[in-house]
Amino acid sequence: MPKSPPWPWFLVGLLVFSLLLGSFFLHQAEADSVPQALEAEATEAPPLDSLTGFIATGDYQIVVANCTGCHSSQLVLQNRATANGWRDMIHWMQETQGLWELGDNEDKIVQYLATHYAPEATGRRTNLVVEDWYEIRP
């Protein structure tokens, strides 16, 4: 019986192995290209006041006592400003919206807000943020 030479089978085996290896890496590359969910911030999260969400350090209690009587904390938490910006807002509220005199507390409130809710450097236009990638159904 004629003996079939071994090397064509060896080549076939190599080809099959290469295809399997190739498809494995291809799959890995696809899996890597799908982004993971946003990771939590690397830095330690500051403690939050459970009722209002204000960062619970320093003079936050003075802020809560004076700044959540008319509107909720969420109006404050949305905003970012310099010390001058926060002070301007306070003066506008005093002049037009019935906010009372804050006395010594004004400096403390402005200092707290300017420290914890200062403008962030965002450039001319920020990048898009996607929290949850999903499959678009055909």
Binding site: Y60, L77, Y134, I136
Partner: protein
């Protein structure tokens, strides 16, 4: 995005049960709380009367909530998806049998008062689809940041409104020759609780008041106005900042001067008369009242963050509008504005309604893409790709809408 990180951070991480304490306690293990667990006591959109879950709540007092773009996919915005913007507190005791609308002011010939029933019977009733957009829609993107509600793209909608023409009501009362402006008054109350303070009282010049589409409205899509959108009666001026469309309407004054109610003057709903550099301090006398809103558009399908698997073509669609004008061209880019393709654009159902557009995009290869949408109005003005001119109060951001897509 920077401005929202504080709020999102708060929503994701706060979850300790409330105690009786006035200021609340520190959330001690904040960083170990599972993501997505919402803080007790914080409202969800389902808690806003008349509104569907899915709106993004910016504030619970006063209530302000916006609509994510993918929920604005209907041609006619459903009432329970229309954004909510409160300057004060909506009225609580509403007796529609005793509700009246008074027309007065120094430039009215004969002051009139109507009940709701009289209003509906005495004047011809009209239906219009009209775009309502907050002047501050888009504020969250401005840098340096502007104070106020940090809207992203969702303070806009276009439901069908039913009412009578303001011009017909004013014609019956008679308008003197020196009439310049109308100003509205409503029955919402001030946040401070002070009964003599008015939360907001704005208006429009006579030429806008007398347009066919300027309505005194009582219904959205055939149903009573939601409380949060002005039940039982409001004004609707399509294409102008929505703060001109007074809610819980009880009085319209015909003025012989530019109206001067609260939030009409100062810096409110005004932009610098001449363009300024970002972060500039602008004097009040150099600020001009916003009138027609600028051209703008939204991609309402698909929702941002989509993975397109094993295919390269995608149908996309959305809406476009342009204040007092109309949209004449709609374009899409998938390469950050380097090239644009034109989309199919429908005419509006009536003047001052938004227009639907749709197209197909074809991605050349796998990867991360952004789809940018740019509308051009009938005067030739288009949306900017970066932010438009900075202004101290963060109004009128009509930069191109962007969504992210990955082809995998």
């Amino acid at each position: 995005m920077g401005h929202k990180s504080g709020r999102r951070h708060f929503l994701k991480r706060g979850a300790a049960a409330l105690t009786g304490s006035m200021v609340g306690l520190q959330v001690v293990f904040a960083d170990r709380i599972p993501a997505g667990l919402s803080l007790l006591g914080l409202p969800t959109a389902g808690d806003i009367p008349g509104k569907r879950a899915g709106l993004t709540i910016l504030n619970d007092r006063p209530v302000n909530a916006e609509t994510p773009p993918h929920l604005l996919d209907d041609m006619v915005t459903p009432a329970d998806l229309l954004f909510v913007r409160n300057n004060g507190i909506p009225p609580s005791q509403i007796d529609i049998d005793s509700w009246t609308l008074t027309i007065d002011g120094e430039s009215v010939s004969t002051p009139k008062t109507y009940s709701l029933a009289e209003l509906k019977q005495r004047f011809k009733v009209y239906d219009y689809q009209l775009v309502l957009e907050c002047g501050g829609n888009g504020r969250s993107e401005f840098n340096p940041p502007a104070k106020g509600n940090q809207w992203s793209t969702g303070a806009v909608g276009c439901p069908r409104w039913t009412g009578v023409r303001l011009k017909d009501v004013l014609a019956e009362a008679g308008i003197k020759e020196d009439a310049v402006y109308i100003g509205y008054y409503g029955r919402d109350t001030h946040l401070s609780g002070q009964p003599d303070k008015i939360p907001i009282s704005r208006g429009v010049p006579m030429h806008k008041a007398l347009e066919d589409e300027s309505l005194i409205a009582w219904a959205i899509n055939g149903e009573d106005l939601p409380l949060m959108n002005g039940y039982p009666l409001r004004l609707v001026f399509g294409g102008w900042p929505a703060s001109t469309s007074g809610k819980w309407l009880s009085r319209i004054s015909v003025r012989n001067q530019v109206h001067d109610g609260p939030k009409m003057g100062g810096m409110s709903y005004r932009v610098p008369c001449k363009p300024v550099a970002p972060g500039s301090k602008v004097a009040e006398e150099d600020m001009c009242i916003i009138e027609s809103m600028p051209v703008k558009s939204l991609i309402t399908y698909p929702k941002t963050g989509g993975l397109l698997r094993d295919r390269r073509n995608l149908s996309i669609r959305g809406k476009a509008w342009a204040g007092d004008l109309a949209v004449r061209k709609m374009e899409i880019s998938i390469d950050f504005g380097a090239s644009w393709q034109e989309a199919r654009l429908s005419p509006p159902p009536n003047r001052l309604a938004w227009q639907a557009w749709e197209t197909q995009v074809s991605f050349p290869e796998k990867g991360y893409y952004e789809i940018w949408a740019r509308a051009t109005d009938t005067a030739g003005g288009a949306q900017p790709m970066v932010l438009p001119g900075w202004n101290p109060k963060g109004y009128l951001n009509n930069a191109c809408h962007r969504i992210a897509v990955q082809v995998v």
